[in-house]
C-alpha cells in the first residue's frame, strides 16, 4: 500500500472541509414541483408557527378548544422557527420536497413570494365554499394579502407601530400629556425634551436599518406626503420622500435621535424619551418600566403602517386537507380567539366585532395603552409595495436609512435606492405578475 502521509491526510481533510463548507453554505437543494403534499393525515392539521409574541401557550389553549369542538380533527403545533423569516425558510425547504404543513404563519413580507410562485392556495373559493363571512375581518388587515384580486392568507398576529413616550420626561419638559400631532410639532418639542433629559439620556431612539427602521420610517415619509412607491414604481427620489429622509438625518445630526438594535430595553430602562415600536412590545414595556408609560397614535393622521403576520394554506395539499385547514384558521382567528390571543400577546384583534365583546371591553378599560392601538387601527394603511412585497425590500431600505442617519447625502442615497428597487422589480417580479 502507498504510504499515507500527514500532509496527505491534512490535505484531504482540508479539501473535504472546503467541499462540505460550500455544500452547507449553498442551497444545494434542487427545485421540485412543490413538495409531495404528503405527511399529515387528512384529519391531522399540522400548524407551523413561530409563536409570535411568545404565544405558544395561548396557541395550545386555542388548539385544545378547537379539538374539543371538532372531535374528529387533531392539530399538531410545530415549532417552525424563532421568527417569521425562519418559518419561511422551513416552508421553502418543505416546498423542495419535504412534507408540507396544513397551516403556516406567513408575515407581511414573506407571504407575497409564496403567492407569486403559486405555493400558497388562494382562499376566496375555499372561503365561499365554507360559507365564511370575511366582512368581519378588519379591512386593512384582510386586504394586505391580496394579489390579483385573490386573498392568500387571513390576518392572525397583526401589529402596528405605536408612539411610546416617557410621561415623566414629558412632564419635566413642560409638555402636554400626548403624542405630537405631526413631526414638525415634534421638532419644536425636541429641544425642550433634550434639556429635560440631560446628557446621559436620548430624546428618541428608533430601531436601526437591520431591525425594521424601514417599517416605522414609513410613517414619517407618508407624513411629509412622500412614499416608498406608488404601486410598483419606486418613489424614493420624490421631493417629499427626500424631505422625510432629511428630517430623519437632521434629528440625528442635532442629537435628538439615536438608532439601536432594539429600542425597547433602553426605553423600558428610562434612558430614552420616546420611540416608535410595535404594539407587540406593549406588554413587556408596561410591565417592566419604572415610570409612567404613555402611548399615542403615530404622528400625522392615518399614517400608520400595518405589520405582523397572517396564516395561509399551501397550494399543493389535497382539497380535504385545505378544507380542514381553513376550518382551523377560521377558529383561530374568530372574534373570541382573536381577543384571547390579543390579550396574551399585545397584537391587534383582527375581527371588527372583537372590540364589542365584554371581555375585550373590560380589558381595554383596564389597559388604556392597549386601547390606543385599537383606536389607531382604523387609521392604518397598507405598506408600500417596494418595502413589503419586493424581495429584500426591507433590508434594502434599512441599509439606505442607516447611511442617511450616518450623514450621507439623502438625495444620492435615495436615487440609488430607486434604481436598485426598479431593477429587482424588473428582474424578479414583473414577468410573474398576472401570470
Amino acid at each position: 500500500m502507498n504510504e499515507f502521509s500527514r500532509r496527505g491526510f491534512l490535505g484531504l481533510a482540508g479539501a473535504a472541509g472546503v467541499a462540505g463548507l460550500a455544500a452547507c453554505a449553498g442551497t444545494g437543494t434542487a427545485p421540485s414541483s412543490g413538495g409531495n403534499g404528503g405527511g399529515a393525515s387528512s384529519n391531522t392539521i399540522e400548524f407551523w408557527s413561530n409563536h409570535p409574541g411568545n404565544s405558544k401557550p395561548v396557541e395550545q389553549q386555542i388548539i385544545k378548544a378547537f379539538e374539543a369542538a371538532n372531535p374528529n380533527l387533531k392539530v399538531k403545533l410545530v415549532d417552525a422557527g424563532k421568527n417569521y423569516e425562519e418559518v419561511a425558510q422551513k416552508f421553502n425547504a418543505s416546498l423542495a420536497g419535504g412534507q408540507l404543513p396544513d397551516v403556516v404563519v406567513v408575515s407581511d413580507v414573506t407571504w407575497f413570494n409564496f403567492a407569486l410562485n403559486k405555493q400558497l392556495a388562494p382562499l376566496d373559493d375555499l372561503l365561499s365554499a365554507a360559507k365564511i363571512d370575511t366582512s368581519d375581518y378588519v379591512d386593512a388587515l384582510y386586504n394586505d394579502y391580496n394579489l390579483d384580486d385573490k386573498h392568500f392568507a387571513l390576518p392572525f398576529s397583526r401589529s402596528t407601530p405605536l408612539f411610546y413616550y416617557n410621561k415623566d420626561l414629558w412632564k419635566a419638559a413642560g409638555l402636554e400629556d400626548r403624542g405630537p400631532k405631526d413631526w414638525d410639532e415634534f421638532l419644536t418639542w425636541a429641544p425642550k425634551l433634550k434639556a429635560a433629559a440631560g446628557s446621559d439620556k436620548v430624546v428618541m431612539e428608533l430601531p436601526d436599518g437591520s431591525n425594521y427602521l424601514d417599517w416605522v420610517f414609513q410613517n414619517m415619509v407618508w407624513g411629509y406626503g412622500g412614499a416608498y412607491s406608488k404601486e410598483w414604481t419606486p418613489t424614493f427620489s420624490d421631493p417629499n420622500t427626500v424631505k422625510a429622509g432629511k428630517y430623519l438625518q437632521d434629528l440625528a445630526k442635532n442629537g435628538f435621535l439615536k438608532l439601536s438594535k432594539d429600542p425597547a430595553p433602553d426605553f423600558t430602562a428610562g434612558i430614552v424619551g420616546c420611540s416608535m415600536m410595535s404594539t407587540g412590545s406593549l406588554g413587556g414595556v408596561a410591565k417592566d418600566a419604572k415610570f409612567d408609560v404613555g402611548t399615542a397614535f403615530l404622528p400625522g393622521d392615518g399614517n400608520c403602517p400595518t405589520g405582523g403576520a397572517g396564516v395561509g394554506i399551501p397550494a399543493n395539499i389535497t382539497d380535504e386537507r385545505k378544507k380542514n385547514a381553513l376550518k382551523f384558521i377560521e377558529f383561530l382567528t374568530n372574534a373570541q380567539n382573536t381577543v384571547t390571543f390579543t390579550q396574551a400577546t399585545g397584537y391587534m384583534p383582527v375581527r371588527k366585532s372583537a372590540v364589542d365583546l365584554p371581555e375585550e371591553k373590560a380589558f381595554l378599560e383596564k389597559n388604556p395603552n392597549a386601547k390606543t392601538a385599537i383606536e389607531q387601527l382604523p387609521k392604518t394603511r397598507s405598506q408600500d409595495n417596494v418595502r413589503v412585497l419586493l424581495p429584500g425590500g426591507g433590508a434594502r431600505i434599512g441599509k439606505a436609512l442607516d447611511q442617511v442617519v450616518q450623514g450621507q447625502d439623502v438625495a444620492t442615497v435615495f436615487k440609488a435606492l430607486d434604481a436598485e428597487s426598479q431593477q429587482v422589480f424588473d428582474s424578479q417580479i414583473k414577468s410573474k405578475l398576472g401570470a
Partner: protein, 320 residues
C-alpha cells in the same frame, strides 16, 4: 491524530533520531488484496456519507449557480454566467470580500497567536493551571448564538461593560452597532473569545508531546529562549500549526451565528456581512437561491485555492 500518520517529518532536522527503518517485509499479493479490501470496508461508510451529504449537494449547488432559481419557485431557468458576471460587477461584492478577508485574517492570526501563548503559559507548572485551562476552553463549547446574545450586552453603547470600562478612564464608547468598522471589530473580538479555547487546547496537546530533550540540548549549547522557541519548538509545532491554520480558517469563513445574532450583517446593510452571510441574505432574504448558490460556489473555489496553497506551503517547508 499524531499516531495515525507516518513519517513525513522524518527528514527534518529536529526529528532526526533513530536511523530509517527498512520497512516491513514484502507481502504476498493475497495480503495486499486483503489490505485493500479492509481499507475499502473501513472507508466505505464515510465515503457514502461524504458523497450523499457533501459532494452531491456541492455539485447540485454548482448547477444551481447557473440558474435564476427563486427559492419558492418550482422552476429554475438557466442563465449561463449571468450570476457570476453580476457578482464580480456589484459594488457590495467589494465590501463583503473585504469584510471576509479582514475577519478571517484577524481571527485566524490572533486566535492562533493567543492560543499558542496561552498554551505555552499553561504548559508551565503553575498553581491552579487545570482550572485556568478549563476556563479558557469553556467558551468553545457554548453555542455561537448564546455567545452573540451575551456579547450584545458587553458592547452595548448605552449600558454595556465596554462602555463602563471606557468611562472609568474618561473615554466614551464607540457606537459598535452603527459604525461598520466598530461593528466588524465587535464580531471579530466575540468570535476570537469564543474560539480561543480550540487553538489553545490543540497547541497544548502538541506541546505536551514535544521532545523536551531537544530543548534541553539547545539550552546546554547556550541558545537563548527566543532562539529555542524559533529554532527548536516551532519546527516541532509545524504540523499542528498547519492543521490549525486550515481548520480555523474554515470555521472562521463559516461564521454565521454570531453575525446574525449581533448585527444581522449590518450596520448599513453589509457592514459585517461576510461571504457566508451573503449566501444567506441572497438565498433567504432576497429569495435569489440561484445567485446565493453562485456566491457559495465562488467561496468554494477561493477556499479550495487557499487550501491548496497551504498544502504546497507545508510541502515546501517539509522539503526544506
Amino acid at each position: 491524530m499524531q499516531s495515525s500518520v507516518t513519517d513525513s517529518r522524518r527528514d527534518t532536522p529536529v526529528s532526526a533520531g533513530p536511523p530509517e527503518q527498512v520497512g516491513p517485509a514484502p507481502r504476498r499479493s493475497s495480503g495486499k488484496a486483503w489490505e485493500w479490501t479492509l481499507a475499502a470496508l473501513l472507508l466505505l461508510p464515510n465515503l457514502v456519507l461524504l458523497v450523499v451529504f457533501t459532494y452531491r449537494p456541492l455539485l447540485d449547488n454548482i448547477r444551481l449557480s447557473f440558474t435564476d432559481w427563486n427559492i419558492s419557485s418550482p422552476v429554475a431557468n438557466p442563465v449561463g454566467l449571468a450570476n457570476y458576471v453580476e457578482w464580480f460587477g456589484r459594488d457590495d461584492t467589494r465590501v463583503v470580500v473585504r469584510n471576509t478577508l479582514v475577519f478571517t485574517v484577524a481571527t485566524v492570526g490572533i486566535s492562533m497567536a493567543l492560543g499558542l501563548g496561552l498554551a505555552l503559559l499553561l504548559d508551565q507548572k503553575l498553581k491552579g493551571r487545570n482550572l485556568v485551562r478549563s476556563v479558557v476552553f469553556a467558551p468553545f463549547v457554548i453555542s455561537g448564538a448564546a455567545v452573540g446574545i451575551a456579547f450584545q450586552f458587553v458592547f452595548d453603547p448605552q449600558f454595556g461593560l465596554v462602555r463602563d470600562l471606557l468611562a472609568r478612564v474618561g473615554a466614551s464608547s464607540p457606537d459598535f452597532y452603527q459604525q461598520p468598522g466598530w461593528a466588524l471589530f465587535m464580531v471579530t473580538v466575540t468570535y476570537i473569545w469564543k474560539n480561543l479555547g480550540y487553538t489553545f487546547v490543540i497547541y497544548l496537546a502538541a506541546l505536551q508531546g514535544r521532545r523536551a530533550d531537544l530543548d534541553e540540548a539547545a539550552e546546554i549549547d547556550g541558545a537563548s529562549a527566543w532562539t529555542r522557541f524559533r529554532r527548536v519548538l516551532m519546527p516541532q509545532l509545524r504540523p499542528t500549526t498547519f492543521f490549525l491554520s486550515i481548520t480555523v480558517l474554515l470555521s472562521s469563513v463559516q461564521v454565521f451565528d454570531i453575525i446574525n445574532v449581533m448585527t444581522r450583517g449590518g450596520p448599513q446593510g453589509n457592514g459585517t456581512a461576510t461571504l457566508v452571510y451573503q449566501v444567506y441574505q441572497e438565498t433567504f432574504v432576497n429569495q435569489r437561491a440561484g445567485y446565493g448558490a453562485t456566491v457559495a460556489t465562488i467561496m468554494f473555489v477561493i477556499l479550495l485555492a487557499v487550501t491548496v496553497v497551504q498544502v504546497r506551503f507545508m510541502d515546501r517547508g517539509q522539503k526544506s
